[in-house]
């Protein structure tokens, strides 16, 4: 009983925050609601037994990326978003399609074979291994992708520097 309540509570928060992100005119509010989404997702990860991921989710997403967003928003301080509608396509077709996709994906995922699985195996068998096993996987099985991402980060840093540099 309690798990379901908890789940639905979090799901509600997440969806609500996502909606808030859309309706908010103030970028900061959008950012805050996005942070809320992320946090609730982190808790959902806890329910799913992925402690470490949830922590990382908060640290990196909420703690770093979103701070970056907030920082930029504050730096530019560009004020509220103006609701122009130059693109008729986006105005009419976009939302409809998006809703369509929500329904579509929802139906599809819920009815897909994996969807009916109730996660087997008790969390104990799953969780304690997760941090250790995770690191094993990253540094052994997925070492190459890992290094690749590190290079990607390097590139991103350089790119950001180049972009931010004042035109000499």
């Amino acid at each position: 009983m309690i798990p379901f309540i908890l789940f639905f509570l979090l799901a509600f928060v997440a969806v609500g925050a996502a909606v808030a992100l859309i309706v908010a005119r103030e970028p900061i509010h959008s950012a805050l609601s996005l942070i809320l989404v992320m946090i609730s997702l982190a808790v959902l990860y806890l329910l799913l037994g992925a402690e470490f991921i949830s922590a990382v989710q908060i640290i990196v997403y909420a703690g770093a990326i979103m701070v970056l967003f907030v920082f930029v928003i504050m730096l530019l301080n560009a004020g509220v978003e103006e609701r122009t509608d130059f693109s008729k396509l986006a105005k009419w077709v976009g939302p409809i399609l998006a809703f369509f996709m929500i329904v579509e994906l929802g139906v599809w995922l819920s009815r897909s074979a994996i969807g009916r699985v109730v996660a087997t195996g008790s969390p104990e068998s799953y969780t304690p291994a997760s941090t250790v096993g995770l690191s094993r996987m990253i540094f052994q099985q997925y070492l190459l992708p890992f290094e690749a991402t590190s290079i990607l980060i390097l590139i991103a840093i350089i790119g950001a520097l180049v972009l931010a540099k004042k035109g000499e």
Binding site: A55, I58, V70, M74, N77
Partner: protein
């Protein structure tokens, strides 16, 4: 997910609530008196008396402040973004307090209804969660700065967010060395890894690589993380009036204030746990006399207060101080009972170490000047980060050497 499963939910709930209540009370008091302590020390550094008149040695000053904060008019700037403006201080304080819930003040072996007494949230990877919480802590400051919708706070907010991000990196990195030594994210394991005596503490340990450099990096970053001098640019009075909380008054201001001190406590606790063996005593367990140290300390305080009462104090102050004396004496006597020892000793050492760090904080504040912003940034990125990275590499190297 030791959060939930396994143990009977009700017991969990009850015990947790009790623990939270106690912790909150202690913490609030501690925070209040921390302000008093700081003011006193700084005053003496600057050869002043500091708070003196409200209660003996100004011991009631914190109460007075609290009352003042409560009853002052709470001004909200009309142009402010109300929601965020109100949200910010709550966020700051709440997160600051939540972080402390993860700190184990004493040995996990002592349990109540199957729940460890000295830690509120007993998580397996507590360190990561702690960082998670502290990493969101920045929003309080940043949002406060933004929502005030006025230029100084905005600058403060921008500064703080940038500063936080910059120093969080080196903070985390400087800690990784310890993780390598302890091979765990859990505080209990980390502390257990330092068991024995002072020579096994991670700062000094010789199995692996002494984390002294890591500790220094951590401490620096921690000071920056808590926006304290010399890194208090978000609230640099001389440049930004009062920085991010310029527009805040009354209780909201107080919340920021408390949040700051709570953060100080948190990072100090973290330093204690990671580098200084948490609640472990510096002496080998064979030395049984150390069980009487807490009692001795309290009795000493009692003695000093008694002397003070008799010699210097006059009027109401004499009465107040004698109450303190009485409390200290009773505490000391209670601590003499062997049955109580196991419950006290850990906490005693923990608090003692914590106190040292607090003192350090205050002294730093009293002595060091403030950085310039570009200096701050270049220091963080060009010095602190490389050093902590180097520390990490060297540590890993030595550990590999040891483990063959």
């Amino acid at each position: 997910m030791e959060f939930f499963n396994g143990k009977p939910a009700l017991a969990l709930l009850v015990v947790s609530l009790v623990k939270i209540a106690v912790l909150l009370f202690v913490l609030m008091t501690a925070l209040a008196y921390l302000t008093w302590f700081e003011r006193k020390v700084v005053a003496h550094i600057q050869s002043r008396w500091g708070p003196y008149y409200v209660g003996a040695h100004g011991l009631l000053q914190p109460l007075a402040d609290g009352v003042k904060f409560l009853f002052k008019e709470d001004v909200t700037p009309p142009t402010a973004d109300k929601f965020v403006y109100i949200l910010a201080p709550f966020m700051a304080l709440a997160l600051a307090l939540t972080a402390i819930a993860l700190i184990p003040f004493g040995p996990p072996t002592l349990t109540l209804l199957g729940q460890p007494i000295f830690v509120v949230a007993n998580v397996s990877i507590s360190l990561v969660f702690l960082f998670a919480i502290t990493s969101i802590g920045v929003y309080g400051v940043a949002l406060a700065g933004w929502s005030s919708n006025s230029k100084y706070p905005l600058l403060g907010g921008v500064r703080s967010s940038a500063q936080m991000i910059s120093y969080e990196v080196s903070m985390t990195l400087s800690v990784v060395g310890v993780l390598l030594l302890a091979r765990s994210f859990g505080f209990n394991e980390i502390i257990a890894n330092q068991a024995g005596s002072i020579i096994n503490w991670h700062v000094f340990t010789l199995n692996g690589f002494p984390q002294i450099i890591g500790f220094l990096c951590y401490m620096t970053a921690a000071v920056a993380e808590t926006n304290r001098v010399p890194f208090d640019l978000p609230e640099a009075e001389t440049e930004l009036v009062a920085g991010f909380h310029t527009e805040y008054s009354a209780f909201k201001f107080a919340m920021f204030f408390m949040a700051e001190y709570a953060n100080m406590i948190t990072v100090s606790c973290l330093a204690t746990i990671l580098f200084f063996g948490g609640w472990l005593s510096p002496f080998p367990d064979s030395w049984t006399w150390q069980n009487y140290l807490p009692a001795a300390g309290l009795l000493l305080i009692a003695a000093y207060c008694a002397y003070d009462v008799v010699v210097y104090m006059k009027g109401i102050a004499r009465l107040q101080l004698s109450v303190v004396t009485l409390l200290a004496a009773v505490g000391g006597i209670v601590c003499l009972i062997p049955a109580v020892h196991p419950y006290i000793i850990g906490v005693f050492w923990f608090v003692a170490k914590l106190f040292v760090f607090m003192f350090f904080y205050v002294i730093v504040r009293g002595t060091l000047p403030r950085f310039r912003y570009d200096q701050l940034m270049s220091f963080g990125w060009k010095f602190l980060l490389p050093v902590s990275l180097a520390n990490l590499v060297v540590t890993a190297f030595f550990i590999i050497l040891r483990r063959g």
